[in-house]
């Protein structure tokens, strides 16, 4: 009798031990999750990626429409998506009638100006100039030519323009905003990502800055490491001084008015680039980065915390596109960024 008790106890023990292995053994015998992890798609960082994907999708669908489909058409695409095509009769969109909602993909083949206060729940594709009215909500908007969004517009996913893109003041832009030519952003606009050869906020550009000529001495304790100098603690570079070489500063850095650094800069603390100063390389800040009025950075500008670009400041050049990547980003008036803006926790232009 004791033997049977013992065997039963042993079997129970083995059973308890093997219990956690049951799902493992089942997964081993009948694999259900053996595909390699998907790596990040190649175009995940391309601001206009979603727009290009939509253009391809709509092109495929429209090629499948019957040849006899009229230029002005209200119906469905071959995959069943509700669709409107507007050519001669823009009244399909009721452009003069505010307060309407379109729950269909819209293709506009004529220049159009909308009255405003409309909502587009699906994508819009405009092959000619597109002017949106104020307080209009777009899920996504692709324009092959110029796009102008009215004040207090709202974009939920993306906008891409083949020509110039102008964003009205107080708009809210979620997702990716891009143009093959330029983006002009009005005051009080919220944004996440913007990409274009030239991105400007409204306001006048700064006058050309004077070149710095003053000499500079390395502070005591600076160490040369490879191709840069490392300064432990805070550093202040005087007004009008010209620095040759890259710097790593473990404390705070202040670059006074009109000074120039011909190299890249990494700062572990806060960094302030004062009026009309210039960094002829990249600017990396582990905390907050303030680029003063009329200051210039060749780029990229990378900030873990808040990055603020003052009135008339610029990042990159027309022939040297670059990136501003920040936690939060503030853009003053007349700011120019050539390339790409990324604000992980949101950005805003000043009112």
């Amino acid at each position: 009798m004791n033997l049977w008790y013992g065997l039963a106890f042993a079997a129970m023990t083995v059973g308890w031990f093997l219990l956690p292995l049951v799902p493992a053994i089942l997964e081993l015998l009948h694999p259900s999750d053996v595909a390699p992890l998907r790596v990040v798609p190649r175009d995940a960082g391309d601001v206009s990626f979603l727009a290009r994907g939509f253009r391809q999708y709509l092109g495929r669908q429209m090629n499948l429409l019957p040849a006899a489909t009229p230029a002005d058409f209200l119906g469905r695409l071959p995959d069943g998506t509700h669709f409107a095509r507007v050519k001669a009769g823009p009244d399909v969109l009721r452009p003069g009638e505010p307060g309407t909602t379109q729950d269909r993909v819209v293709r506009v083949d004529t220049p159009i100006a909308l009255a405003g206060n409309q909502t587009f729940l699906q994508e819009v594709h405009a092959t000619e100039d597109f002017v949106g009215g104020p307080q209009t909500v777009y899920r996504a908007l692709l324009g092959e030519r110029r796009i102008t969004l009215g004040e207090r517009s709202r974009v939920l996913r993306w906008v891409h323009a083949g020509g110039a893109l102008t964003i009205g003041g107080e708009s809210a832009l979620q997702g990716r905003i891009s143009s093959d030519e330029s983006v002009t952003v009005g005051p009080g606009v919220e944004f996440d990502r913007i990409g274009a050869p030239e991105i400007r906020t409204t306001g006048s550009a700064a006058p050309a800055r004077a070149a710095a000529t003053g000499g500079w001495q390395l502070p005591d304790g600076a160490r040369r490491i490879g191709d840069h100098h490392r300064i432990d603690g805070d550093l202040e570079i005087g007004a009008g001084v010209k620095v040759i070489g890259s710097l790593v500063v473990t404390g705070r850095l202040t670059v006074r008015q009109g000074a120039e650094i011909h190299g890249s800069v990494k700062v572990h603390g806060d960094v302030t680039i004062e009026r009309a100063a210039a960094i002829r390389g990249s600017l990396v800040g582990r905390r907050n980065v303030v680029v003063g009025p009329a200051a210039e950075v060749l780029g990229p500008v990378i900030g873990d915390g808040e990055v603020s670009l003052g009135d008339g400041s610029s990042v990159g050049r027309g022939d040297a596109q670059t990136t501003v990547a920040a936690g939060t980003l503030k853009l003053g008036r007349g700011v120019a960024v050539f390339g790409q803006i990324m604000a992980r926790d949101g950005g805003r232009t000043t009112n």
Partner: protein, 424 residues
């Protein structure tokens, strides 16, 4: 007698407890902390000239796929040179490389090594002196980089403090054997949790020798690659850190690789890693400790723990040996020290990514059913524990005898044969 056994046991338990706490900190950081990926958003820039070094020894199965992947990169072609270092291959590698050089003149530049010290470190050491670009990336021949990966790996070098960058390795052949599936879990834990947490916390992410790169001026400043390094990646990581450079990890810079499909190959691989890491421990333990005045204390402390990670295996075995000895000589172990050792064992070495890190990584990756295999990691743990311990002991013996180490290549499986495990 009792005290003589208890003191080292307490020391060992203390050490493994520190590793356990460290891994919990990493895991909690990945789940709830602020994530740092400052360079991954750089999509537009004036991209600098780059040289990609690909050490290759008998890589005819994989080198063509690797070159096709690199040639498909969206990096400006005129700023990208691919130098494949053919290290005395005896298969068709040379012919394949010469064919690519003919078809892509100026872009693919094979270098055929016929002499000198064999091995990856020696090959890199020999060629890096000839590289003129400021950024040097390194890939093993069995990797398949995506089109955007080169830009992602170059982006951190806009930070003048960055000396080296490391991307994430993702196994491609995980559907082959139980081992490949376990290695997939282990890699996830190691990269998704361990490396990214060290990046978040400003500690010491490790440059892994592939899917990564170094700044040329940093390389020159620390004396170039060491031809005799058994793990040139660990060696480079620590020379850069001690010299004041930063090593950064890019979790979203992912690249497919082949992992070993049979246990003998895996055991050889892990022994090689252990010997290389132990070599680095001896070389850099003291210099790192001395640099505490120049480097943040957290960097020095984490750097030391990372250096010692392969020493934990033998320590665990010694700890259990001491506990057993204490029991048999009649001294009960008090203060709950044995449960601490047990728990720490389970969550410290954990096949180089503690089991809870693996589970966390699976969650972060969004993978579902593969996590069911987690209990089988115990087998991998036991293999790693013994392999690392054997490698450490033999390395010590070889060092005492003054014997040289030789580099062993990991076999490839792209033809689907599953490998031979090193048998002829």
């Amino acid at each position: 007698m009792r005290t003589a056994l208890l003191i080292p046991l307490f020391v060992i338990v203390g050490i493994v407890a520190i590793y356990t706490i460290r891994h919990y900190i990493f895991t909690l950081n990945r789940l709830f902390g602020t994530q740092r990926q400052p360079y991954v958003d750089i999509g537009t820039a004036q991209w600098p000239p780059v040289t990609i070094l690909v050490p290759a020894h008998n890589e005819e199965q994989v080198i063509g796929g690797m070159l096709d992947a690199l040639l498909g990169s969206d990096y400006p072609a005129e700023r990208l040179s691919i130098v494949v270092i053919n290290d005395r291959s005896t298969d068709g590698t040379r012919e394949i490389l010469d064919d690519y050089a003919r078809r892509f003149p100026g872009r693919v530049k094979p270098r055929h090594r016929t002499g000198g010290r064999p091995g990856k470190a020696a090959a890199l050491a020999e060629l890096s002196g000839e590289v003129e670009t400021e950024v040097i990336l390194v890939f093993d021949a069995d990797y398949l980089p995506g089109a955007g990966l080169i830009k992602q790996l170059v982006a951190p070098f806009f930070d003048p403090e960055v000396g080296a960058v490391m991307g994430r390795v993702v196994p491609l052949n995980l559907n082959r054997t139980l081992l490949t599936r376990l290695l997939d879990l282990e890699r996830s834990g190691g990269y998704q949790v361990d490396q990214q947490a060290r990046m978040n916390l400003g500690l010491v992410p490790q440059y892994g020798g592939t899917v990564g790169g170094v700044r040329r001026s940093a390389l020159l400043a620390v004396g170039g690659w060491r031809a005799d390094a058994l793990a040139e990646d660990t060696d480079m990581t620590y020379r850069l850190i001690v010299a004041g450079w930063q090593v950064v990890y890019q979790n979203r810079s992912e690249c497919y690789e082949e992992v070993p499909e049979n246990w003998p190959t895996r055991i050889r691989q892990i022994k090689r890693w252990a010997r290389g890491h132990n070599q680095a421990l001896v070389s850099f333990g003291w210099p790192l400790l001395k640099s505490v005045r120049r480097l943040p204390a957290t960097v020095v402390f984490d750097g030391l723990l990372l250096l010692g990670v392969f020493a934990v295996g033998p320590l665990l075995l010694i700890g259990f040996g001491l506990a057993t000895a204490l029991y048999y000589v009649g001294f009960p172990i008090e203060y709950g020290i044995l449960p601490v050792l047990g728990v720490a064992t389970y969550s410290t070495l954990g096949n180089f990514a503690a089991f809870f890190e693996v589970a966390t990584a699976a969650r972060l990756d969004g993978s579902r059913n593969r996590i069911r295999l987690l209990p089988f990691l115990m087998f991998g743990f036991l293999v790693s524990l013994t392999s690392v311990s054997v490698a450490t002991v033999t390395q010590m013996v070889q060092s005492l005898r003054g014997e040289d180490h030789h580099w062993e290549k990991t076999e490839r499986y792209r033809n689907g044969n599953g490998g031979t495990g090193g048998r002829p």
